[in-house]
């Protein structure tokens, strides 16, 4: 066996030959495959062997911080400046290796970093003004719930001033970050700043990933010290855990023998880049695949939505495929709550949340992609090709029959809305599907606008979908910039509701304009928190009975979002009628191709309960006056 491994490492034999040899020597095919996989991957330690991986450096605390970030592979810092963090930015004057991307409000800064991190899988770094930290935290809830690696940093008051009501000092600032960070820390000494940064990067990046917060007292950033800078490979070790062989084989056997299994999936598949393997497993076993919702099930679409095995959203009670006997949940926090009574297999990368809310018969903690590879290998080793084909054909046919019928409904709905002047979500969804490039990235920050999604195709070789799970609105336009920065050669469309636009304010437009980010932003302007009103009114309360929308109407004042965009030198237009959509989209694409951002203010039809009403409580503060002042 040692000889086989040596031959493989010396490139004498192929990986397949190694697997075959190990199996012949007595290993199970799963174990042999796992060993071959591990041997084929360069280890972090191997990368660490490069000369210069650790170097001594002398500089200000600001310079030590940025050099440690650079050594860890950070290329961009999203920021909003303050006086105290000047040493950080001083250190970048002659440092071309890190590009600064400025936002003009902390929420936008974090959303840009978050979008970049979602689109790349890399760490997003945001530095914000100390006094604006609470603004940043609002958007960071998205990163926290969706397990996006973000390093948020701020310069704080000097150590000698702490507790003395110093300028812009306020109590409990670091503690505010604790509930939504994996780690929150105040740097203690200048020479320890690189080490502190390394720890922060490690906490943020290690699965389950998430945001961390670092506070740098301003005196530490100004002071000079000597410290060591490590290359990222020396400390940022990828978590490539695999499930146990026994568990994998048990799961494989259950899935092969199941009478009516179902597969559910969530965002951990995306976080582990296991999309291809997920589809391969579903196809191998003819598994109907249902998408997630809620926690870690909502912000990406890792399974192709036009795949014939994709059956739509997972529900508490599935009319199709009916009574399920085995439920395989892959990478979805919420998934274990579904299909009670069936045998539950759950593969998750988050040990804290697996089997937390519902019993799981076979829980496995692992890197999702590696677990899927092992599961595929185990399935193949436990059944002949002929038997697997028979299983996949029989199960798959039932699923295909169902999904092909459902596709007809979509076509009918699309036809129903193909005419007329009103711009409905359905119509816009169809138009966008035709307009978007095959490899476009669709950034979604809407509530009621999600109704367009079924008319578009995402996942696999098709468009990418990036949203947020918690729906902390005001994220989309800024996140779109981060996504475009990550993938400058792909078309990026950011769709926000008018509510979402007003949550973020126009601040993202500043960055889009400043950095010539050629994205298209669409504002779905229905003059309402549309879904919110629907949810409130569906309860049948007094607002519903009286027809009085006390809270959700946004049409007074009737905001002109195109005009707002133009104020930031972003080309924009209003789209009032369905006949205008195609030409407007063409102009947007042309502007993007020319290197300019573009915004479309689309007069989308308000819908749902109480949609006809424009009633809202009239109240005038001017009317309170007794003097005209």
């Amino acid at each position: 066996m040692k000889d086989l491994v040596k031959q493989f490492l010396d490139k004498g034999i192929s990986r397949r030959e190694l697997t075959t040899g190990l199996t012949a020597a007595g290993m199970t095919s799963v174990a042999a495959s796992a060993m071959a996989q591990n041997l084929a991957q360069p280890t972090p330690q191997a990368a660490a062997a490069a000369p210069g991986a650790v170097r001594d450096m002398k500089g200000t605390g600001g310079a030590l911080f940025t050099q440690q970030l650079k050594a860890a592979g950070v290329e961009f810092i999203f920021f909003n400046p303050s006086t105290a963090d000047a040493p950080i930015f001083d250190s970048l004057v002659n440092e071309p290796g890190i590009q600064l991307i400025k936002g003009v409000q902390e929420g936008a800064v974090v959303a840009m970093a978050d979008g970049y991190a979602r689109a790349t899988g890399k760490l997003g770094v945001a530095i914000v003004a100390n006094v604006g930290l609470p603004n940043a935290l609002c958007q960071m809830v998205n990163s926290w719930k969706d397990q996006i690696p973000i390093l948020l940093a701020a310069a704080s008051v000097a150590q000698e001033a702490v507790g003395r009501e110093a300028f812009q000092e306020y109590e409990h600032i670091e503690q505010m970050t604790q509930p939504i960070t994996k780690w929150s820390w105040v740097a203690q000494a200048t020479e320890a700043i690189p080490e502190t940064a390394r720890r922060a990067i490690k906490y943020a990046s290690t699965a389950p990933s998430g945001p961390v917060y670092l506070s740098f007292p301003e005196n530490l950033l100004r002071t000079e010290a000597s410290a060591q800078i490590y290359d990222g490979a020396l400390f940022n070790v990828p978590m490539t855990m695999r499930p146990s062989k026994d568990d994998i084989e048990r799961a494989a056997r259950m899935l092969i023998e199941a009478m009516n299994p179902v597969l559910s999936f969530g965002d951990e598949v995306t976080l582990c880049k296991g999309e291809k393997e997920l589809v391969e497993l579903a196809e191998l076993l003819g598994l109907p695949a249902a998408g997630g919702s809620g926690a870690l099930g909502f912000w990406s679409k890792p399974f192709p939505t036009r795949h014939p095995l994709y059956i739509g959203a997972m529900l508490r009670q599935m009319r199709f495929p009916g009574a399920v006997d085995v439920h395989l949940n892959v990478g979805w926090k919420h998934g274990e709550l579904y299909m009670p009574g069936s045998k539950q297999i759950s593969i998750r990368r988050d040990p804290a949340s697996i089997a937390r809310n519902a019993p799981v018969d076979l829980p496995m903690i692992a890197d999702i992609r590696l677990a899927l590879i092992d599961l595929i290998d185990a399935v193949k080793s436990l059944a002949t090709k002929e038997r697997l084909k028979q299983i996949a054909d029989e199960r798959g046919q039932r699923v295909r029959d169902y999904t092909s019928e459902q596709a007809k409904i979509l076509q009918k709905i699309a036809r129903d809305h193909a005419e007329g002047s009103a711009i409905r979500m359905e119509r816009l969804g169809v138009e966008l599907e035709q307009w978007l490039d095959k490899d476009a990235i669709y950034v979604c920050d809407v509530d009621s606008g999600k109704r367009m999604d079924p008319f578009m195709s995402f996942g696999g070789d098709d468009k990418s979908y990036i949203g947020t799970g918690p729906n902390i609105l005001g994220w989309g336009m800024a996140a779109g910039l981060g996504v475009k920065l990550a993938h400058p050669n792909r078309q990026v469309l950011s769709v926000v509701g008018d509510g979402s636009f007003l949550f973020s304010g126009p601040q993202p437009l500043w960055s889009l304009s400043r950095y010539q980010a050629p994205t298209t932003s669409i504002v779905l302007n229905n003059k309402s928190y549309n879904n919110e009103r629907n949810r409130i009114w569906m309860s049948g309360g007094t607002q519903f009975k009286a027809g009085r929308d006390m809270t959700c109407y946004l049409g007074s004042p009737d905001v002109d979002y195109a005009m707002l965009a133009k104020a930031f030198s972003v080309d924009a237009e209003k789209v009032q009628d369905a006949s205008q959509i195609k030409d407007a989209l063409a102009r947007a694409k042309k502007a993007n191709m020319d290197g300019r951002p573009y915004l479309l203010d689309v007069n989308i039809q308000r819908d749902g309960i109480g949609a006809s009403s424009a009633w809202h409580p009239e109240y005038s503060i001017a009317g309170l006056r007794t003097r005209k002042v």
Binding site: M318, H334, I409, W537, W615
Partner: protein, 168 residues
């Protein structure tokens, strides 16, 4: 009567919602079995039972729910629409209404007779809309099944324009 779609809570809440206890009884009829499962995965049935619409209106709701993930098969759509449009049609088993006094004028009686077939008159009495908006609202009501003729709709629109005016 309400415009276009139920547009109800996202499926994100589906799993978090405990099993729905003490559900109101669905009326008998073909489609009951489908509706009683497919339409309660994300919300209570009460809202369906409160609405009153014709086939066009209910078809829109059903399509909307399918877009949001409801599992209704292509071949079942019309069965579901017929069930809802039969049992929750304008004028059928209306919930109790609040008494509202509308301004006097031609068309008042028609509004009181036709609009209450689907919803509380309070919803009309509180509204203040511009002329085009009243045209749009009444036209939509006609589309989704309000029990009025085109001529009656014109009289109702004229009354609402004059008596309950808002910003143009």
């Amino acid at each position: 009567m309400n415009r276009h779609s139920l547009s109800i809570a996202l499926l994100a809440f589906a799993a978090a919602t405990p099993a729905l206890a003490q559900q109101p009884q669905w009326p008998p009829g073909e489609g009951r079995e489908i509706v009683s499962v497919a339409c309660v995965q994300c919300h209570q049935p009460t809202i369906i039972m409160t609405l009153r619409e014709g086939p066009t209106g209910w078809r829109f709701h059903v399509h909307d729910m399918i877009l949001r993930g409801a599992q209704i098969k292509n071949a079942e759509v019309e069965t579901v629409v017929n069930y809802l449009a039969s049992n929750f049609a304008p004028g059928v088993n209306l919930p109790p209404a609040t008494a509202v006094t509308l301004p006097e004028g031609d068309g008042k009686q028609l509004v009181e007779q036709r609009c209450v077939a689907c919803h509380d008159l309070q919803k009309v009495g509180t509204e203040r809309l511009g002329r085009k908006d009243w045209d749009r609202v009444v036209g939509h009501m006609l589309d989704i099944g309000a029990p009025m003729t085109a001529d009656e709709a014109k009289i109702i629109t004229a009354y609402l324009r004059e008596k309950l005016p808002g910003k143009p």
